[in-house]
Subunit: 354 residues, 2 copies
């Protein structure tokens, strides 16, 4: 199955309104979720709807949330997400930061009392489209990453995203979990019946392993980027802590290391961080964009190790995928499709993916 | 040999003034260089003086540089480093950012026309001491890192540093090259006659290797953090590009990919980026510090894989080293000591390291 992008997005929006989300919020949320699928970031697209469905039914997501600004200055905005999904709240946070940066050159928005917000890259792309540098991070709900040298998982995949405008429509757009590999990739190796590459995971004793079951069944953990102490996993670990400081400590949300993590009486209290800088503070924006474009072009022109795989810059693989999927539609696996179909039947929501 | 910290710092300052650096600039520069040695970051301490000596004699460093502010707004400062060493210029840049953040809550300084500035962590620690979050990056002179999937080196070690105040005197302080390992570590493996761990380097054909000579003699490259495509080296590569955008593209300095890199008629045109955020924009600073402290303590309490190696947070290893070296002095290897001695003799500078 590969529905058109338009139908795919409309299906997501219909489900969200079917769950009771106000129309404008549902439109914005569907926009972010469908953007992820369009760009090949399937882990943050339609597949998240089954997770949201479950969390909503368990009373952990407020579908009629009304995010509100609780504190602000000329450079900053603190937003309470009202225990809703993070997408629309995050668009508000980034729009507010962009508007303030237009006045004063830089701004930061901090969001508390939120939930999963989809792919970070959607929000940093908003900054790049506004001719600004963007930096975004978030906390996560699932504890699955052990600190460098440690046995027990204490952190999440704790993503960081950074963007800068260059050639029109081709911003530099880095969007990375601070782990070596995502859990989904470990599960894929298990499904294929093959070991993981070295460095992806550790056993519950903190010993490096390549057996997917160590993470899937035996209480092992994902590794921070770097993979092993010799591979400098203290750097990925440090970046994960940075994401938690920027998101949770700045906004005053529940720490992932707190006994109250995911146990607050209402909602999930996930937190996010959004920052923008106007390059015009320092030089003409066209000169800045020209230099970013030159840097990216010089990197793309690097002789590739494998001639069939040209060197790219962050954002390129997703743009290639988006062009392909705009043309051919967005493929959805049979298993996921059946789960989404069941959700539409359960809530009497129109079906649009045939 | 292990001179006291005081003598070690005084020796560096004496050499700098012996080279014609004004006294106040020399004091600030020596402060940063000796800080690196004190904290065990030997690659950025006294050992850099031999490199500075050579570059100065080759006319690439202006020892009487007078950095000046060339453009500013309430949140931003653009500084021209006048082709001098980067240390004193960078202290000015961070001091200026801190002063502006005191007024308005956040600020950014961009430095162009600079040179090597020592260890990033010195500057982010300044932010933490001022109760602010700090983010610093820099470009580099040496091209030695291949993009993910590429054959040729195009980037440098492109460091990023992040700090946040927590327990008094124990900020979270991440200071990382965006490579898997530094060149010095590859050279150490060669000197020991052992292969490097997998993932540290690639041959000039971009093929993973563990032979130090591939990098030392045969034109190979260091890898971005992650080490291999399967280890997600596109993430380290992306972080390196981020450092170049924040430093070079924002300030308008020479791109590392430009044919003019290290070929400008005067100086090196290295660039730096400094940013600070006041957590007081969002909440009481003591609450913020308390949460950073709690997060760090929870991570430190993780069961270690090796009981003799407790889990630490970024900044801990350097603080342990600093306590040790304040007490026992700063060790300097015989080879380096002889080179420094020769410099003092050449320029008739007092000798203080016996």
């Amino acid at each position: 199955m590969a529905a058109t992008y338009k139908n795919h997005r409309a299906q997501i929006e219909a489900i969200l309104t079917g769950w009771g989300m106000p129309e404008d919020t549902a439109g914005r949320t569907a926009e972010v979720i469908a953007w992820a699928d369009l760009h090949g970031i399937d882990s943050h697209g339609l597949s998240t709807m089954t997770m949201y469905h479950e969390r909503w039914k368990n009373g952990r997501i407020n579908m009629s949330a009304q995010p509100r600004i609780v504190r602000e200055t000329p450079v900053s905005t603190l937003i309470d997400g009202d225990a809703g999904l993070g997408h629309a709240t995050s668009i508000l946070a980034m729009e507010t930061a962009i508007a303030k940066a237009r006045n004063i050159g830089m701004a930061v928005s901090s969001v508390r009392n939120s939930a999963h917000f989809g792919a970070c890259g959607y929000y940093t792309e908003m900054a790049a489209k506004a001719d600004l540098i963007g930096l975004v991070s978030s906390t996560t709900s699932i504890i699955q990453v052990a600190p460098s040298g440690g046995k027990d998982a204490k952190l999440g995949t704790d993503p960081i995203s950074f963007s800068a405008p260059g050639i029109e429509g081709q911003p530099f757009l880095l969007d990375m979990a601070t782990t070596t590999a995502a859990f989904g990739k470990v599960r894929n190796k298990y499904n294929e019946g093959v070991p993981t590459p070295p460095g992806w995971l550790v056993t519950r004793e903190g010993v490096p392993s390549t057996d997917p079951l160590d993470v899937i069944e035996r209480g092992g953990s994902l590794t921070p980027l770097g993979g092993t102490p010799e591979g400098s996993d203290h750097k990925g670990y440090g970046l994960a802590v940075m994401a938690n400081i920027l998101s949770a400590c700045l906004s005053g949300s529940t720490l992932i290391t707190s006994p109250m993590h995911m146990k607050q009486p209402y909602g999930q209290d996930i937190s996010h961080f959004f920052m923008v800088i106007d390059p015009g503070l320092f030089r003409d924006i066209e000169d800045f964009r020209g230099d970013v474009a030159n840097l990216c072009e010089a990197l793309r022109s690097t002789s590739p190790r494998d001639p069939s795989k040209p060197v790219m810059i962050a954002g390129d693989p997703e743009r290639i995928k988006a062009r392909e999927r705009l043309e051919k539609g967005i493929p959805v696996g049979r298993g996921l499709l059946e789960k989404i179909r069941a959700i539409t039947l359960e809530h009497d929501i129109p079906w649009m993916l045939d």
